[in-house]
Each structure stands twice: as structure tokens, then as C-alpha cells.
Amino acid sequence: MALVEKFEFDEQTELNVPRMKKNPSDYILDSALYNAVRVAILLKQPLLLTGEPGTGKTRLAEKLAADLHTRYPNEYLSKPLVFNTKTVSTSTDLFYLYDALGHFHATHFEPEKPEVSANGAAAGTVLSIPEKPPVPEVARHIRLQALGQAIVLSNPVMLDKCPYLPMNDVDASKPRSSVVLIDEVDKAPRDFTNDLLNELDRFRFQVREDGNAEYEIGTKNIFVILTSNSEKNLPDAFLRRCIFYHIEFPKEDQLMEIVLNQIFNKELDRTESASKRHAVEQMIAEYIAYFVTVKNANLKKKPATAELISWMYFLRDDILHPRPLKEVDEPKRLASYSILAKHAEDFALLKTL
């Protein structure tokens, strides 16, 4: 094996290759999923999506938000409000985060707080209960999370009163409907999902640190999409309140479509020759077939659609100049395998395939 002295990249083809963009419009939506979303919207219930990693659960929310925004630009946010569940998440984390230490620090070690007072005064004025002493400092240490944001955004009254605004990336100038994505909900402890039940039912929360200030859903819609990798079982009571949809791993033809949509659309459009286009499609099909073989092989960690796309993206030059996988440069091919295989053993297995 030859040794390499230092890193050198080709600027055009390697180093500055544009990041693979995930465009919501590339998302392929099958009718079942579409109908599931319709039901969820109709019934105003959270949609629980399960499926193997990489089957596009997360991206559905983006797609939905984008589509809604396109249709009703003034009504919907263009992006979903995302909450990434962690193993230590609690239900309040869905609504807001309270920076206790910062608050403590601020109260003790920051005597001067002109801005804060201004802010606090401003905040104080919007408080609905005048006799209750305002806690302007607290608001600084509370940050709304996805669901909290959505609730506040949905209610014009709350939007005016809420001291925790502005939010990041969100135009809070007017009430909006929103799509909330609670990602990987099964990651959290069981308590999280159990607590979630009520919150999702009522779309209401209290800020305990802020004198139990209550926020409630307003006139606008909130569509909640939950995803789960089905690593753990979710409580029945929780499932009962959701609209459930399991996204199957796409079939070969669907994969083909996905790949064409996400990676090759523009390139293929550019190549005029129909025969060339056909050859490329053939090649893509071949690669996908290989991928399916790999996926069906007894791997420790199975590659998902995301891996396929990455892998194809990595090999797209070879595909565009139709070159079967076996004829791809050995190092490049092996390198590509590391996209698919996440374990040493899997990698070894791939080499034998």
C-alpha cells in the first residue's frame, strides 16, 4: 500500500463540491402517507411516524411545512418547529427551557441590568395579571421550545403578551399556524411520552418558574408529527392518541425514483441524449440492486435510504459515465462501502459481496 504524504484535494471536483441539498420538493410522498397526514390534520391529532432510519420520517415534516407555506404563505411557517428528543428529555422541555443557573447567576452577580429592566418592563407591561409582581428576570432565562413556540404563535393574544419572544428564526410578527416535529420520541424515557399525552391533547402549558404563567393554543393550527425508530415500545395510551403510520422501506422502483429525484435530476436533464439517459438509468438500477443486496445481507447495521443517497452521491460521476460498480476504482469503491457499512465486520462482508 502506497503511502501518502499529505492531503491534497482537487478544488473543483472534490473540495468545493456543493453540499448535497435536501430540497423538500424532492421528497417523494406516497399516497398512503399523504392520506395519513390528511387524517391527522382532519382529526387534529399528532401523527406518529415509524420506520427504519432514513426512510424520510423527519423530512416529511419539512415537506408538509413547505407545502403548506407555499399554498398559504401568510398562514404557515415555512419550516417545521423541531424538537429533537434526547434520552433525558422531560415533557416541559417540549415547551420551554429554563436556564436556572444563568438565572441564579444573573440575580446574584449582575447588579446592573438596564436592558433587562427595559426588557423586563416591557415584559411586565404585557403581563396579564397586574397585581402579581412581574418577574422580568425570569423571562430572560426561559427559552421557548418547538411546541411552546407553536402554541404561542397560534394565539394572537399570547403572542402579544409572551415575554419569551422573540424566537430564533421565527417571524413572530403575526400569529401563524405551524408544523411541529418531535423527532425520535422513543429515545426519551417512558415518562416523557406519558406526560406528552396531556400536553398534546390540550396544547397548553404552564411556566412554573414564571409564576405558573399559562399559555394555550389559539385560533391557528398546530400539526404535530412525531417520529419513532421503534427501538422501544411506546405506551398504549400514547399510541391511542396518535395517528399511526409506518413508513415501509422503499422498494427498488421507489428507491430509483428517490435517487433520480434527489441526485440526478439536474444532471440527467442536462444530458440531452436519450440513449445516454437510458444508460444512466440502467446503471442507477444496477447500483440500487447492489444496495438492496447489501441491505438484505446479514449486516449488523443495515444501510438506510439516507446511506443509499449518500453513497450514490459519492459515486455519481461513475454513474453518469456509465461504469458498473465492479469497474469503479478500487480505492473509491472501498471508500464508498464505508458509507454503507457502519461496522468493521459489515465492511468486511461488503468487500466479499
Partner: protein, 1261 residues
């Protein structure tokens, strides 16, 4: 709820109901949501097909809870929709299952029909071939067996009765000989019977075989589903209280890893420290998570199922539990979520923070070589801080295995008390040692005990050990004796179902629970014990153990047993299987095997299991043996049944078909009998036949004469003139012996014969009248003897025939008076009457009248009207009633009605009371069994013949119109051509010549005309030609005697007999009644040539004179006929009636006849002279007769020929013109050195004829 649709309603209700049945959680909420969806998107129902998919996709997310459910939902939805489609359309698919089952019966029927058809065909074939050998038997052998004949009677010659033929001119009643009785015996063909019985048995065997051994060999099924999926029984389990406690325990929160600031405490502390910030945190308490790995050695491992159930119970109690299964080796675990298994490392990744609980005996986790836990266990489970093993083994039976495991795991027994310790140990910081555990579990023995109950496989367990195990309670419970008994019952009852399953165990437990009237039997606690039974952890019970358990089970109360059987079968019944699937096969087999343990259904089960056994599908050797034994028993029973059937059939056959059958076997019986005919002649017949043959002629036969003499002596007949008979015989004998003795034999045979005949005639003449009466009385005696033996038709007939003839004979002799005649007639009546009414040993009435009588009796008429009719019947002579009864006349009305009633009654039984007029008073009533109305042909024939004879004899006036031979009698006794032996009787001819005139109607017209011409020389012109009249009698005799001769008819003209030429030597001449007779010998044969007129008409009377014409020498030689035969040998040559054959024709031979000189003075007698020294060769043209003639001037013995028509045979006038033909003239040529031809014609004959031989002028000259 469901929107009404003009197109098609949504199948929402059915769908949700079906989903609920399939185990989906369908809450009212789900209903609500689904209908909201329907209302929103399908307010009009489904209008397009695409909407169906949409509906599915919309409803799915609402109902399903997991990806597995999502998949199933799709299937169920499709199914329901299809079903509702079909229901709506009422398509045939719903009927298809019914169709597929239906063919079974027609199939069987078709088989039965086919079988029956084959059997019938076989029987038909056999019957067909059976009949064939019988057929020849039906043709009776014509030769009677000698054994049945009376001695001395040569019956072989008398099969056809040869009547004694009387002269045709007499009214004759030829006596008839009795035919030997044909006795048909029907002998049973035992071989055929046996064959038939065997055949029937085979047929029965085939039919029974279908019944006993239906060929329903069970084809091994291989379709899915492969397993029996019993309905869930777990909801019947009563969860013990300890489980709640355990659940609460397990749910106790742990301190989480994440801490958050305890604001209140921090502020308080900061304040107390004078503002120095002192921050306190509080840990967030989390509910603990458990990862439970259950050792499940097979899908049937019931303990594993129990633990899984316990797990689900805990989950319901909000314990956060993840249950997975492994098979001995926990490195790969499985669950519904990971059907392909999940590696331990992956489990660790996902459940790192959980408490690990393994439920296993842990045997495979140990490295026995090193006495530690296996290295992979170390590696794999090390990650989990808290890990425990729940072992089903009781602490008392813990051994080193547990000791080793205890070094790495917290080892606890999977008992209620052990479970409760789990949480405690998890929370305790330290890992307990084996000793601590034992102490904790109160195991006191210092040494490690053996594994005891848990160490033994099911096959080595004894009932006692099982009992002991079940008697041993958990520490926390205090079971009563009764509870322990129930537990044992449960254990025993599990053996009912041969392949234990979790659901079955629960169902059985539930039955016992219900039967014992408790509500806490199928509890988790009890299940912990029951599922510890080794056979419940595998899919089968070792056969010996099962039998032992079943023996114990049998001791249970019958009601309980019945209940258990019922419930087990019900559970099996409830399993949904698809026909043809492996599961279906399993289900059936198990059902029958369960039934096998039930005495009541044992037989049925054995029967139903047979097809399985044939297919080799039975796994249990015991069941296999039982079924096999049953099959063998069945085979034996089958064989025995067949044998009994065959024996019974044979015995029945022997009863139904006796060895010999007296009557003609009808119908089926025919096939089993061979018919053999035998002719039997008894003494009655012998006497009758002797009487029939008795005649003068026959007496010449010495053999016969001796026979007669013997017979006559036997019957005790004493001849009135014995000496006369003897003298006659002796005389005859003397004469014949003299002529036949070598010394008396003369050289001139012919002369001798005629002399002998003459002597015999003379002899006869002397004795004849005496002999006649002697013969008569002998005949009567013989016939009476015959009748004494047996009342036969023939004897009776002969009797009255003989007497009748006698009467007529007496009459005709002239000395008959009217009184005598009346007496004779009365006598005849007396004879005849009984024959027409009665016959046989018992008398039978005339059948036709009897039939009428019986018909009357059976007509259900009023007695009065019946009486009138019977009277009418009696007036015909039916003689059905008692005339002689004195009471009859006095009390007529009562008596008659009574009688009629009796008769009616009797008639129903086919009996008739007959009155016998001539019997003594006390014997004159005869109860006769009436022959069935189907009379045998012989009987009815004889009756008919009798009736005919009777009518002719009795009703006709015997003197006014002498009866001819009864047609019927002639029919049965046909007149045979007279044989050499029988010669026509001359006696009547001599005694009654005058009567003959009006008895030969054929001649009556011609005789008066004959008188006129007398001896006119001239040819008769005005009167009819006498010659034809002379010819006619000849004709007549020919008709009577020569049957073979063609009858002259209008169409076939010409003379009768064989026309031809006789070449021979003249031996003798004789003139008889103006007729010249020549005796000509030709090559040893004698010919009697007659030249002249009719034999019995006197020459003088005839109007015709023969006209002779002669030619000599050279002229004779010109005759072509002579030329042709001049050198011919002696003999008779038949000639065709043509010009070339040598036939003569005086008128057509050209000049040959013209040369003949008519010699009117020539004397017929002087034509031929006989010289003994130089015999004259003679050529005679004429017609030859078979030997039969009443005139025999040369006394020739029988066998001679006659030549007639030795004259011109053409030119006859009517009515004799039928004889006319050319080329058939007769004539003589004599060759005695010189040649001399003589042509003869009658004066009435015309000398000019046409081509047909008829006279040219229509009338005589």
C-alpha cells in the same frame, strides 16, 4: 352512522368489527374518528374504485398501532371489502366452499353405483355362463334310462307310439302306446350355489369393505397455516395478589442520572449562609426499566409463556418492561419486534440503563470446565450493572449451577416469594452471595441437594414425584388439601391433550376451576407450579408417562372428565384452520386423539384415526398401536362377518334350494338346478303298450308272444280258450318253422313263400273268430291291469277305443239290436266319462270347469247368485257339489249356502271338496288339492284330447256318422308308414266290406257310372272313362301308403310314382280278376307288375277294354327305348319324361308305334309265357310303387315293388286327364330269343293328343 350511499356504502362497521376480532384495539374513539373520516371524504359512499385505496390509507393510520398491525390492517381491509363486495353481489364465491364439500357424497354414491354395476355385471356374466351348461340339459335325452323300465318292455322302440293301424276304410281308434313318462328332475347344483354364495360374499365383501375400511387415506397436508393457533386463554388467568405487590415494587422510582437544581433548597441554603451561593441539586427520579430475557426452549414452552404473561401483567401495571425470548443461548434474543433476532450487544445499546432479568435455569450459561460463568456471559452481560436470574428451580434443589451463577447474577427462584426479593436486591448496592441467598430463602441444608424434580426429564418422572412436587407449597401460601388435589387433577388432565400447549393447559385448568366451583384456581401462583411440570415445557408427553397420567385421570369424577373432554374438544373446534392445511390436519388428529381418551368416543376416534394411521401421520406409538389393533380387530370382524355371511348364505341356499326340486324351478332358482330328464315306463305303461301292440300279426313275433304270455299270466288273466291260443300259436309256429327249416327250404323261394302264406291264411281262417274275441278280452285285461296300476290317459283311451270298436264290430256283424247298441254306447260313456273328469291316483276334475268353479268361488259373489252359477256349471257336468247328500235336498237353502261358504273358504286354499259318485258313502267326499291354474302342458293336452275324443264318441251318433280318427289322437299317434312288421289288418276288410262303400267318399261318385258300360268292347265315349276310375283307387292307396310320392296335381301332371323301365326276368304270371300279374325278378328284387284294370273292380264291369298292339324283332329294335336298355343290367331305371331318356311315347315316337299291329283277339293272360329253362328277359315301362298293396297274388314277403301304369298314359278324358303327359307311356318288351313288344291302351283313350298329352278333342269319341 354509515353514510347511506347511492353507490356503495362504506364497509366501515364490518371492517371495524373484523378488526376488533383480529385483536386490534378498536375503541369508541377509533369508531368516531373513522366515521369522521368517512363523513368528511366519503359523504356519498364509494363512487370510484380508486377511493377504496384512499379509504384504506385514511383509515389505517387511525386504527393501527404498529407496523405489524399496519400490514395486517391492509390484508383485513382487502378481505372485508372483498367480502362485502361479494355479499353485495351475491357472487358464487361464498358458495364455493359448500360446493367443494358437496362432491363427497355424490362421489361415494358414484362409487357405490359403480360397485353395484360391476357386481350386477359379474352376476349377469356368471348367470349367463351358468345357463349355458344347463341348456343341453333341457333337451331331454331321448333314450330312457334302463333302470326305470319294466322288465321285458323294450321301451326304446316305443318312444313314438306306433298305433295299430286299422284299414283306412274303417272308423278306427288306433290304440296308442303310452309314451314313457318324461320325468324331469331338477338337481341342485351345489357348485353353482357355492359359486353364487361366494360371489355374493365377494360382493358383500366389496360393499362391506367400503364401509369397514373407507379408503379415506388421509393425505398429508402441507398447506399453511402450519400451527394450531388457539384462541387466547390468558384472560382467564387470575392474577395473584403477589403480582400487584411485585408490580408496585418494581415500579419504585430510581434516582435518575440527570439532576436539576433544587431551587427552594438552594435559596434557603444561600440565605442561611448569608448570601453565599450554595447550590443544591435534586436528582430526577425515573421509573426503572427492566429488560426481561426469557429462556424459551420451544414455542411450546409453557413456563416461558407464563413468564411472558407475567411480563405483560407487569406492563399493564405500568412497569416498564421489555420482554424478549431466547433459546437457551441469550446471545440472540427474539421478540415480535425482532422476529429475526437481535444481538445481545444491540440490546445493550438500547437498554443499557435497564435492569436485566433473565428467566432461565441457566444451565447453558456456565463453563463447566472452569466452574465459572461462561466467558461470553461475562462479556455480554457485564454492561448491565444490575442483572438477575430468576430460575424455575426451587431453592431446595439449587446446586452448584446456581452457586456459580450467583457469582455473576442475582439468582432468585421464580416463585412469588423469590420475585418479591428481586427489587430489593436490585436496589441494594451489593451483590448477594450464594450463601446469603440461601439464607434469605431459608434453605437450611448445608449441602447442595440434587436437582430433584427439576433434574429429571419428563420421561423419567414418576407420578409419585409429580405428586410430591405439587404438594410442596410456596413459602407464601398455605394451600389446603383440596387445593393440592385440584392441582394434581390439573396435572393429570393435561395428558388428555397429547401435545401440551399453553392454551390447552389453561383451558383444562379453567374447566377444573369451574367444576370445583372456585374462582381462584387458574392463578399465576398455581401456574408457576403447573408450568414447572417438565412435559408442559415441550410439545409432547412421553408415552409411558401419558398413560400413567391418563390412568390417574380416569380415576377422576366422570362429570369432570366429561367436562374436560368437552372443553378440550371445544377449544380445538374453535381453532380456525384452513381445509387442507397442516394445521387442519393437526387439529383433526388431536381432536381424535383426545376423543380416544374418552371411553364414550373411543370407537369413533379409532375409526376416524384410521385414515391418519394409514398415512402414517400418527406420531404417538401408543395411539398408533391402538388404532392398528382396532384395525386388526376390524379386519378380523370383517373376515368373520364374511365367513358367517358365506356360511349363512350357504345354509340358506340349502334351505331355499332343496337337493331336488319336484317343480320346475322358476326365476333365480333356475340357475341352481340342473335339469335332467329321464323317461320312465312303469308297469301301467307296459300293460297299456302291450295291449296296444297286441294283434294277430304281432303275435307272430315269438318274442312278443312270449312277452304277452308272461304279462297275461302275471296279471292273472286266464285265457278262456287257452288251448286255442296255444294251438294257433303252435300252428303258426309249425308252419313257419317248416318253411324256414333248412330241410323244408325249397329252392324256389317264391313259391315257398306263397305257399306258406297260403297256409297261414288258412290257419288264421280257422282260428280267427275265436282269436278275435280272445285278443279282445286279452286287450281289455291288459288295459284294466294298466289302469289298476295307474289311471293313465292312454289306458283309458285304449280301453274305450277297444270297446268301441268291439261294439261297432258287433254291430257290423249284423246281429246287433238297438238295445245292444245302446248298451255299447252306455258302456262307452261309462268308460269315457271318468277319463274326462278324473285322472291320476286322486281324481281331478276337468280343469277348465274347475278353473271356472274356482273363479266363481273367488269372485266374492252373493251365495245365492253363486249358487245359481255353480248349478249352471254343474249342469255341464262339473260335479262340484254333493248330489247324493240326503240333507242337501231337504234343507236346500241353508245347506247350500253353508256349503258354498265352505267351498269359498276352501277355494282360497286351493282345495276343493269333490263328490265321487261311485264311491262308497263314507268315502265319496274327496278333498282335493287343486292344481294351480297353470296346468302342465301335458295335462292340459291330454285333457283336450280326451275331451275331443269324448265329444266325438259320446255326442255324435255313432251309427249316423261314423267317427273318423280323432284329429288329436292322430296328432299324438301319427300313422307311420307301414313297417315291414305291421301289415294291414285283413280281418275288418273281410268282415265289413259293405260299409266301406260309404266310408270312402272319394270313390262314391265314380262307381255308379262304372255300372253302365259293362264289358263294352268299344271305347267308352259317352260315359266317363272307366280307366281313370280304375286308376283312382291306385292313387288312393298310393296316397295312403306312399307318403313320399308326389301327389298328382293339376299343375304337376302325369302319372304318380317313379316312371321308368324295369329290366328283369319273368318268373311267374297269374291272372287275378282280369288282371295279369307278372312276378319279375331283377337283380334279386321281386317286382309285381300288374297289367290291366283296377284291382278290385271286375274286368267285366269296366267299360274299357285293353287294346293290345304288338311288334316283333326288327321293329322292336327300332324303338329307341329298347336300343337304350337292350344291354342294360337287370334293375329298375328311373326315366325322365323326355324323348331322349328312353321313355316311351306311342304317339310321339314317330313310326315306331305305327308299326305295331293291333291284335284285338289277343288274350291278356297269354301274352307272357314263363319258361323255367330259358327265362324270358323282360322290359317293362311303367310307374314303380313302394311296396304296398292290398293284392298280393304271389304271396310275396314284404319288400317287393309294384309296377303299374303299364299302358298308354295319355289321351285320358276328364276327370282322369290329370294323368296325361307325354313321354310316360308304359309297355312291355319280351326277349325270349325273339323280341316281342306289346303296347297297351284302353279303348276310352284317345289316340290323338296335344303336347300335354290331353286328347285333341275335348270329349271322348
Amino acid at each position: 352512522m354509515t353514510p347511506v350511499s347511492p353507490h356503495r356504502p362504506l364497509p366501515l362497521g364490518e371492517l371495524l368489527e373484523q378488526l376488533r376480532r383480529e385483536g386490534f384495539v378498536v375503541t369508541p374513539e377509533v369508531y368516531d374518528r373513522c366515521f369522521r373520516i368517512a363523513d368528511t371524504w366519503f359523504p356519498d359512499g364509494l363512487t370510484t374504485t380508486g377511493q377504496l385505496r384512499e379509504l384504506k390509507e385514511l383509515l389505517g393510520p387511525v386504527v393501527v398501532r404498529s407496523d405489524i398491525e399496519q400490514e395486517r390492517f391492509g390484508a383485513i381491509f382487502d378481505q372485508v371489502v372483498r367480502f362485502s363486495d361479494q355479499a353485495a353481489k351475491q357472487t358464487e364465491t361464498a358458495e364455493k366452499p359448500a360446493d367443494s364439500q358437496k362432491p363427497l357424497m355424490p362421489d361415494r354414491l358414484r362409487w357405490a353405483t359403480l360397485l353395484a354395476a360391476i357386481t350386477l355385471l359379474l352376476i349377469g356374466l356368471v348367470v349367463y355362463y351358468l345357463q349355458k351348461p344347463v341348456n343341453p340339459g333341457i333337451e331331454p335325452p331321448q333314450t330312457p334310462s334302463n333302470s326305470t323300465q319294466s322288465p321285458g318292455v323294450d321301451t326304446t322302440k316305443r318312444i313314438d307310439p306306433s298305433p295299430v293301424v286299422r284299414p283306412s276304410s274303417y272308423p278306427s281308434f288306433p290304440l296308442i302306446q303310452a309314451n314313457p313318462t318324461r320325468i324331469t328332475t331338477y338337481t341342485r347344483q351345489t357348485g353353482y350355489l357355492l359359486l353364487a354364495v361366494l360371489l355374493a360374499t365377494v360382493a358383500a365383501a366389496a360393499v362391506l369393505f367400503r364401509y369397514f375400511f373407507p379408503s379415506r387415506k388421509r393425505l398429508p397436508s402441507d398447506g399453511p397455516p402450519y400451527f394450531l393457533t388457539f384462541p387466547d386463554q390468558e384472560k382467564t388467568i387470575k392474577v395473584a395478589e403477589s403480582m400487584d405487590v411485585w408490580a408496585r415494587q418494581l415500579n419504585q422510582r430510581d434516582e435518575g442520572q440527570r439532576r436539576m437544581m433544587d431551587v427552594a433548597r438552594t435559596i434557603r441554603a444561600t440565605a442561611s449562609r448569608g448570601g453565599y451561593p450554595s447550590i443544591y441539586y435534586q436528582q430526577i427520579k425515573l421509573r426503572p426499566r427492566y429488560l426481561v430475557l426469557i429462556d424459551q426452549r420451544s414455542t411450546f414452552h409453557q413456563q416461558a409463556r407464563l413468564y411472558a404473561y407475567l411480563g405483560s401483567v407487569l406492563t399493564e401495571s405500568e412497569v416498564e418492561l421489555e420482554t424478549l425470548f431466547f433459546n437457551s443461548d441469550p446471545r440472540t434474543c427474539r421478540s415480535e419486534k425482532y422476529p429475526r433476532g437481535i444481538a445481545l450487544s444491540d440490546l445493550y445499546r438500547l437498554h443499557r440503563h435497564s435492569y436485566l432479568v433473565l428467566i432461565t435455569e441457566g444451565i447453558r450459561l456456565i463453563d463447566y470446565d472452569r466452574g465459572t460463568v461462561a466467558p461470553w456471559v461475562m462479556n455480554g452481560f457485564d454492561g448491565w450493572e444490575k442483572r438477575a436470574i430468576l430460575t424455575p428451580v426451587y431453592p431446595e434443589n439449587w446446586t452448584s449451577i446456581e452457586a456459580i451463577l450467583a457469582r455473576f447474577f442475582i439468582v432468585l427462584p421464580a416463585t412469588p416469594d423469590g420475585q418479591l426479593l428481586l427489587r430489593t436486591y436490585f436496589q441494594a448496592g451489593e451483590h448477594p452471595t450464594f450463601q446469603e441467598l440461601r439464607r434469605q430463602l431459608q434453605v437450611n441444608s448445608t449441602t447442595a441437594a440434587d436437582r430433584g424434580f427439576f433434574g429429571k426429564p419428563a420421561s423419567k418422572l414418576t407420578i409419585a414425584e409429580i405428586d410430591r412436587f405439587l404438594e410442596n407449597p410456596f413459602d407464601t401460601e398455605k394451600p389446603t388439601e383440596e387445593e393440592i388435589t385440584r392441582l394434581k387433577q390439573w396435572a393429570y388432565a393435561t395428558a388428555v391433550y397429547a401435545t401440551p400447549t399453553w392454551e390447552m393447559t389453561l383451558a383444562i385448568g379453567k374447566t377444573i376451576e369451574r367444576f370445583q366451583g372456585t374462582d381462584a384456581f387458574v392463578t399465576t401462583t398455581n401456574l408457576l407450579k403447573i408450568t414447572a411440570l417438565p412435559w408442559l415445557q415441550q410439545s409432547s408427553i412421553p408415552e409411558p408417562l401419558r398413560q400413567e397420567l391418563l390412568a390417574r385421570f380416569d380415576a377422576l369424577p366422570t362429570a369432570m372428565k366429561t367436562a374436560i373432554h368437552q372443553d378440550v374438544l371445544q377449544l380445538l373446534e374453535s381453532v380456525r384452520t384452513k381445509p387442507g392445511s397442516l394445521a387442519e390436519e393437526e387439529r383433526e388428529r388431536h381432536t381424535y386423539e383426545v376423543m380416544l381418551t374418552d371411553e364414550k368416543h373411543r370407537l369413533e376416534a379409532l375409526r376416524k384415526l384410521a385414515p391418519f394411521q394409514k398415512a402414517g401421520l400418527i406420531t404417538s406409538p401408543t395411539v398408533d398401536r391402538q388404532v392398528g389393533a382396532h384395525e386388526r380387530r376390524k379386519t378380523v370382524a370383517y373376515g368373520l362377518t364374511l365367513a358367517i355371511l358365506a356360511v349363512f348364505g350357504l345354509v340358506a341356499g340349502y334351505f331355499i334350494f332343496p337337493e331336488t326340486s319336484p317343480t320346475t324351478p322358476a326365476g333365480l332358482k333356475r340357475f341352481f338346478y340342473t335339469t335332467s330328464d329321464s323317461l320312465r315306463a312303469d308297469s301301467a305303461m307296459m300293460y297299456n303298450n302291450l295291449a296296444a301292440r297286441l294283434s294277430f300279426d304281432s303275435l307272430k313275433n315269438t318274442d312278443f308272444a312270449t312277452q304277452i304270455a308272461t304279462a297275461v299270466k302275471t296279471i292273472g288273466y286266464k285265457p278262456a280258450n287257452d288251448s286255442i291260443g296255444a294251438t294257433y300259436q303252435n300252428g303258426l309256429h309249425r308252419i313257419t318253422s317248416r318253411y324256414q327249416s333248412p330241410t323244408g327250404k325249397r329252392s324256389d323261394g317264391f313259391q315257398a313263400v306263397s305257399e306258406m302264406t297260403a297256409e297261414i291264411e288258412a290257419h288264421q281262417k280257422t282260428y280267427l273268430p275265436v282269436l278275435e274275441s280272445e285278443l279282445y278280452s286279452m286287450q281289455i285285461a291288459l288295459l284294466m291291469a294298466s289302469l289298476r296300476q295307474r289311471n293313465t290317459f292312454e289306458a283309458l283311451y285304449n280301453l274305450h277305443a277297444v270297446r268301441f270298436q268291439r261294439g261297432v264290430f258287433l254291430d257290423s256283424t249284423g246281429n246287433n239290436s238297438s238295445r245292444e247298441r245302446d248298451l255299447a254306447i252306455r258302456g262307452i260313456r261309462k268308460i269315457v266319462a271318468p277319463t274326462s273328469w278324473y285322472s291320476a291316483p286322486g281324481f281331478f276334475p276337468q280343469d277348465s270347469l274347475l278353473v271356472d268353479y274356482l273363479n266363481l268361488l273367488n269372485q266374492n259373489l252373493q251365495a245365492d247368485s253363486l249358487l245359481i252359477r255353480v248349478d249352471a256349471l254343474d249342469s255341464y257336468g262339473a260335479n262340484m257339489r254333493k248330489y247324493s247328500n240326503p240333507a242337501y235336498a231337504q234343507d236346500r237353502s241353508n245347506r247350500q249356502i253353508q256349503e258354498i261358504k265352505t267351498a269359498q273358504q276352501a277355494a282360497q286354499f286351493n282345495r276343493v271338496n269333490l263328490f265321487l259318485p261311485n264311491a262308497p258313502r263314507n268315502k265319496n267326499l274327496l278333498v282335493v288339492r287343486v292344481p294351480r291354474r297353470t296346468l302342465s302342458p301335458e295335462r292340459s293336452d291330454s285333457l283336450a284330447r280326451l275331451t275331443a275324443a269324448w265329444i266325438k264318441l259320446h255326442l255324435d251318433k255313432p251309427d249316423s256318422a261314423p267317427p273318423t280318427i280323432p284329429a288329436t289322437a292322430v296328432k299324438t299317434a301319427p300313422v307311420k308308414a307301414p313297417s315291414v312288421k305291421t301289415r294291414p289288418k285283413t280281418i275288418p276288410a273281410k268282415t265289413a266290406p259293405t260299409k266301406a262303400s260309404n266310408q270312402t267318399p272319394a270313390q262314391t261318385n265314380s262307381y255308379p257310372t262304372q255300372t253302365k258300360p259293362a264289358t263294352d268292347e268299344r271305347p267308352a265315349t259317352s260315359s266317363p272313362d272307366p280307366e281313370p276310375a280304375a286308376v283312382s283307387p291306385i292313387d288312393n292307396t298310393a296316397n295312403a301308403d306312399v307318403k313320399q310320392e308326389p301327389q298328382p296335381t293339376v299343375v304337376q301332371r302325369g302319372i304318380p310314382g317313379d316312371y321308368g323301365v324295369l329290366v328283369g326276368e319273368v318268373r311267374e304270371t297269374r291272372m287275378v280278376s282280369n288282371n295279369l300279374f307278372l312276378l319279375i325278378a331283377a337283380n334279386g328284387d321281386y317286382y309285381q307288375v300288374r297289367i290291366g284294370n283296377q284291382p278290385n273292380a271286375s274286368y267285366g264291369k269296366s267299360s274299357d277294354t285293353p287294346i293290345l298292339a304288338m311288334a316283333e324283332n326288327e321293329r322292336v329294335r327300332k324303338i329307341p327305348g329298347f336300343q337304350r336298355f337292350s344291354s342294360a343290367k337287370e334293375g329298375f331305371y328311373k326315366l325322365d319324361k323326355t324323348s331322349t331318356s328312353g321313355a316311351l311315347d306311342y304317339l310321339r315316337t314317330g313310326d315306331s308305334y305305327a308299326d305295331f299291329k293291333v291284335d284285338r283277339k289277343a288274350y291278356l293272360g297269354g301274352l307272357v309265357s314263363v319258361s323255367k329253362k330259358s327265362p324270358t328277359r323282360i322290359y317293362v315301362w311303367g310307374a314303380r310303387w313302394q311296396p304296398a298293396s292290398s293284392t298280393n297274388p304271389f304271396k310275396l314277403p314284404n319288400g317287393f315293388y309294384e309296377i303299374h301304369y303299364v299302358h298308354q298314359n295319355q289321351g285320358f278324358y276328364s276327370p282322369n286327364d290329370v294323368l296325361n303327359a307325354p313321354w310316360q307311356d308304359g309297355g312291355i318288351i319280351l326277349d325270349s330269343g325273339s323280341l316281342k313288344a306289346i303296347a297297351i291302351r284302353f279303348s276310352s283313350q284317345s289316340t290323338t293328343t296335344d303336347a300335354k298329352g290331353d286328347p285333341v278333342k275335348a270329349t271322348a269319341k
